[in-house]
Amino acid sequence: MELALTGGKAFAYTAAHALRPGLRTIVFVHGAGLDHSWWGLQSRYFGYHGYNVLAVDLPGHGRSEGPALASVGEMAGWVFALLKELKIAKAALVGHSMGALTALEFAARYPETTERIALIGVAYPMKVSDAFLDAARRNDPVAYDMDVIWAHAAQTPLSGNPNPGMWMYGDTLARLSRLAPGVLHAGLAACNAYADGMEAAAKVKCPALFVLGARDMMTPPKGAQALAKAMADSRTVTIEPSGHSLMAEAPDATLNALIAFLR
């Protein structure tokens, strides 16, 4: 669906369903440089199993207009504005990487609107190397290469994709190559600068799920431990063969973890 928000047209994938009153709502928030379709299998599942689904494209990504937002706080505020516009009083948030920080910040800022949060491929602090940031700032394609290689487990390019016939590296690279200049850098810089993680975690009172890739090079599992400990009600699922791109590298295990948590 498309809707008008401050800053331009916003898009959210709803799994071909109109929002249905009385159903629980799940908001999926993608990571830096990606879009709603990164959640293809998972968002579709929930959309066809009795939930309202809003897999959003953050501003400047996918089908949403506007410049990319510069901070995690702004992203959380944008998601809140979207829910307000749709008159949704409460939702579960599922976020990946930058989207996970957004969900965390959202839960801290808007506890009355947060039913629960699932943080996938997350670490705090989410530091980004200078080389990666600099390359992204220059819109140098080497930034896309770094993203592709570090976002997957080392064995991924030399093994099979659970999605028949698809090449994960190529898919991620194609998505990044469609981005407007500056969008990837904005996302990476927002992750790198986010400094409110522990404070936000302490405020989270709703149930929280961490889904982590055991072979994640971008956000190694140990990087999420402090956040999980700081939350009142958290649980962690670590998926053994996966890197940072859990929805693609381990789609079934990721979906199973979400089903168990959101059911």
Binding site: S37, W38, R44, D171
Partner: protein
């Protein structure tokens, strides 16, 4: 600082798309000679059908062995994914049928394999899809013939049989300026000699029967998508960007972004047209791909020797190989094909059709048959075989004369190949 590195071509040719078999530990790609796959339970079945979970249902749509080939080719080409098909012609048909309806139009190079020319010029016309053929070097022609209903530009990376080098950067720009994708047949070049996506092509396919398989034992095709073409922005492809009643009202682009084209090609094209690849075929082609990086340099090296030999022979009128100075695409080839111009080329023998016949019938190492890209050297007379359906005028447009002979250079000792050609040329010269 040096950035992270992708696995090299040679490594991907051996490993991409496959882990050791989880059931048995088998290192080689197992042949999953099975039609169908047991569902864990009813919910799992429903999830697979509704595309909420990844996996195999029925081997016409996907098969574990075929999927290895598809992923490996996507890796070698730098695409998002691939769909393997029953033949190269099935791959071309699948690409067109996924993007077009009756009333659509294609602008295509005139220098095509005869079967592709036939499909576009005659067969698809019966289904309401028209094609305008242009000379591959005529950039104004490509541009001029794009119409409001044009949906695709199409050519071969190396034209058949004149070895016209498609100027992919220029033709793709014409396509993109018109909001259209460029599809190329990359059979003659393979990903070892050229990466069409890096030059601007959006879609490509191979007759995997040729150099990919490399041993003349299996017919197959593979269609690869770069994932770079923005169907939504183009606005010309409701097949991918509007709800489709034939598939649960799915908007393929909204659903899957970069994977939209392949999603429809697989889920509609393989489902309804059914031109899928058999698992044994995929296994056989994979065996070829695992040595592609070893075979292609040898193919090219031997071809250069044979071309050099023929260039010095008085019985040869003209050689059509882009590495030969004087070929109209000589300079372009240096830019687009720095690793070589492949192992298929044509030459005109003095004495026309009759000399050509005597030449071919005198050869003992070269095999006279309708194929290219085999480990064994091959020869054919296009005017009476692969391109026999084309009119004289179309033959001329495709650069084929009555005495044109096409060679596909194999992996034999090049001295033996040149010796064989010497015998053939002597026989032809006797008149």
């Amino acid at each position: 600082m040096s950035g992270p590195k992708y696995p090299g071509f040679d490594t991907l040719a051996l490993h991409a798309g496959q882990s050791p078999d989880p059931a048995t530990g088998a290192r080689a790609v197992p042949i999953y000679q099975t039609t169908s796959y047991v569902f864990r339970d009813a919910a799992h079945a429903a999830s697979l059908f509704n595309m909420e979970r990844a996996g195999h249902v029925y081997s016409r749509i996907s098969n574990p062995t075929v999927a290895v080939l598809e992923e490996r080719m996507a890796a070698l080409e730098g695409g998002v994914g691939a769909v393997a098909t029953a033949s190269g012609q099935a791959a071309l048909h699948l690409a067109i049928a996924t993007l077009m309806d009756a009333g659509s139009h294609v602008v295509a190079s005139a220098a095509l394999y005869g079967g592709s020319h036939n499909l576009l010029g005659y067969t698809l016309k019966r289904f309401g899809i028209e094609t305008t053929f242009v000379q591959p070097r005529d950039l104004e022609g490509w541009k001029k013939h794009v119409k409001s209903n044009t949906r695709l530009l199409f050519g071969e990376t190396l034209g058949n049989p004149g070895l016209d080098v498609l100027d992919i950067p220029s033709v793709s720009k014409i396509a993109h300026d018109a909001g259209l994708p460029l599809l190329v047949d990359a059979t003659f070049t393979t990903p070892y000699l050229m990466k069409p996506f890096e030059l601007g092509a959006d879609l490509l396919y191979h007759s995997a029967t040729k150099f990919l398989g490399g041993h003349g034992i299996a017919i197959g095709g593979v269609l690869v998508d770069s994932g770079r073409f923005d169907w939504e922005r183009s606005g010309k492809f409701p097949q991918l960007t509007a709800p489709y009643a034939g598939f649960h009202n799915m908007d393929f682009e909204e659903e899957s972004g970069t994977r939209a084209f392949l999603l429809r090609a697989r889920r509609e094209g393989l489902r309804d047209f059914g031109a899928c690849m058999a698992p044994m075929t995929a296994f056989q082609i994979l065996q070829g791909i695992e040595t592609l990086h070893l075979r292609m340099p040898r193919h090219v090296e031997s071809t250069r020797k044979v071309v050099g030999f023929l260039s010095a022979n008085p019985g040869v009128e003209k050689i059509l190989y882009p590495e030969v100075p004087g070929h109209p695409d000589h300079e372009l080839a240096k830019k687009l094909l720095p690793r070589g111009c492949g192992a298929v080329f044509s030459f005109d023998i003095k004495g026309g059709r009759e000399a050509g016949r005597k030449f071919i019938e005198s050869l003992r190492v070269f095999s006279h048959l309708a194929n290219v890209g085999d480990a064994k050297s091959l020869v054919i007379h296009p005017a009476t075989t692969t391109h026999y359906r084309m009119s004289d005028e179309d033959l001329k447009k495709a650069g084929i004369g009555p005495g044109t002979v096409r060679l596909s250079i194999g992996l034999e000792d090049p001295e033996d190949l040149m010796g064989d050609l010497t015998l053939g040329l002597r026989a032809a010269a006797k008149g």
